[in-house]
């Protein structure tokens, strides 16, 4: 069972959470000014990195708050959690390297 640390409640089982996709996708300043292609890019296109990925999670089975997490998509290791008001944390190369190691070669 994957455990995720809620910024407010601490470590809880993954089943208490729901996934919200990529974090830091800003709503367009002036949506009406966008072309159909730009609007589609905003709505449907997301990064799909192999490695650390900043994403949104909601603690629906607990405090019901949204927060962000950086998760290594190769290993499922959650490298950092932070509130929506915090900037995306810098993930140091060593942590990323640990993530690779934990994935098992």
């Amino acid at each position: 069972m994957l455990q995720i640390k809620c910024p407010w409640c601490g470590l809880r089982d993954e089943t208490e959470y729901k996934y919200g996709g990529q974090a830091h996708v800003a709503y367009p300043e002036d949506p009406a000014a966008l072309s159909d292609e730009e609007w589609a890019q905003y709505l449907f296109f997301r990064d799909n990195p192999k490695g650390p990925f900043a994403e949104r999670w909601v603690h629906s089975g607990g405090c019901r708050k949204w927060f962000n997490a950086v998760r290594d998509t190769r290993t499922y290791e959650v490298l950092a959690v932070y509130t929506n008001n915090d900037p995306r944390p810098e993930i140091s190369p060593e942590i990323t390297a640990t993530g690779v190691a934990a994935g098992g070669q």
């Binding site: 407010w8 809880r12 089943t15 208490e16 089975g61 607990g62 405090c63 708050k65």
Partner: protein
């Protein structure tokens, strides 16, 4: 307008029909577990910015501070305040809901807060006795060992896969608070879960 006391006499709690089953299905012995519903407690949901002036006035009415950390419960018995989120709390009280909600709403007036009577949202199932923790551990993913889950702690978690609030009053007293519509499911699950812990009360008393 209908008389309030008449209406209160007519109301039915979510586990009213299971009262005898819970009593007779409780188990006795070294690992006794007693099951019973505590119906019609007043519950008020509060949302307000913690530390704000409005929050201070609300705390004045409650005679207790709004707990700041997950799990914390404050209050001296008249009203207990459970942490639900960084800006959300649940007051559990035996005071009449209309008077408590009324005074909380007056205290919040002019500020930014939400005070809602949610008394009918949940019921309380008390699980007491030396076997209480072990029974709950069968269906709750949270670590309930005393080293991780202290007395007078309340959290949102799940029991038998349905969301509940779980309030540990002391080592042998837990309050499980499911939504009204899930209460009978939780009741039936508990009746089954306690079976291995001792002889049923009905068998001992020859009911």
């Amino acid at each position: 307008m209908a008389d309030l006391t008449t209406l209160q006499g007519l109301r039915r709690s979510p586990l009213q029909d299971m009262a005898a089953e819970l009593r007779n299905g409780s188990v006795q012995g070294d690992r006794a577990v007693l099951l019973r519903e505590w119906p019609f407690l007043t519950m008020v949901n509060i949302r307000v910015e913690p530390g704000s002036e409005t929050a201070g006035r609300i705390e004045g009415v409650l005679g207790a501070s709004l707990p700041q950390q997950c799990g914390d419960v404050t209050g001296d018995g008249a009203h207990s305040v459970l942490w639900l989120g960084p800006d959300e709390w649940l007051v559990i009280s035996q005071a009449a809901p209309e008077s408590l909600v009324g005074s909380l709403q007056s205290a919040a007036e002019g500020g930014r807060a939400q005070i809602v009577d949610v008394s009918a949202n949940r019921t309380v199932v008390e699980v007491t006795g030396p076997g209480a923790r072990e029974v709950l551990e069968k269906g709750c993913p949270t670590d309930l060992h005393p080293r991780a889950f202290a007395d007078n702690t309340a959290i949102s978690t799940s029991l038998a896969r349905v969301p509940v609030l779980l309030w540990k009053v002391d080592a042998n007293t837990f309050r499980v608070m499911p939504r009204a519509s899930l209460a009978s499911y939780v009741g039936v699950w508990l009746l089954d879960a306690v079976a291995e812990f001792g002889p049923r009360a009905s068998a001992v008393e020859g009911v």
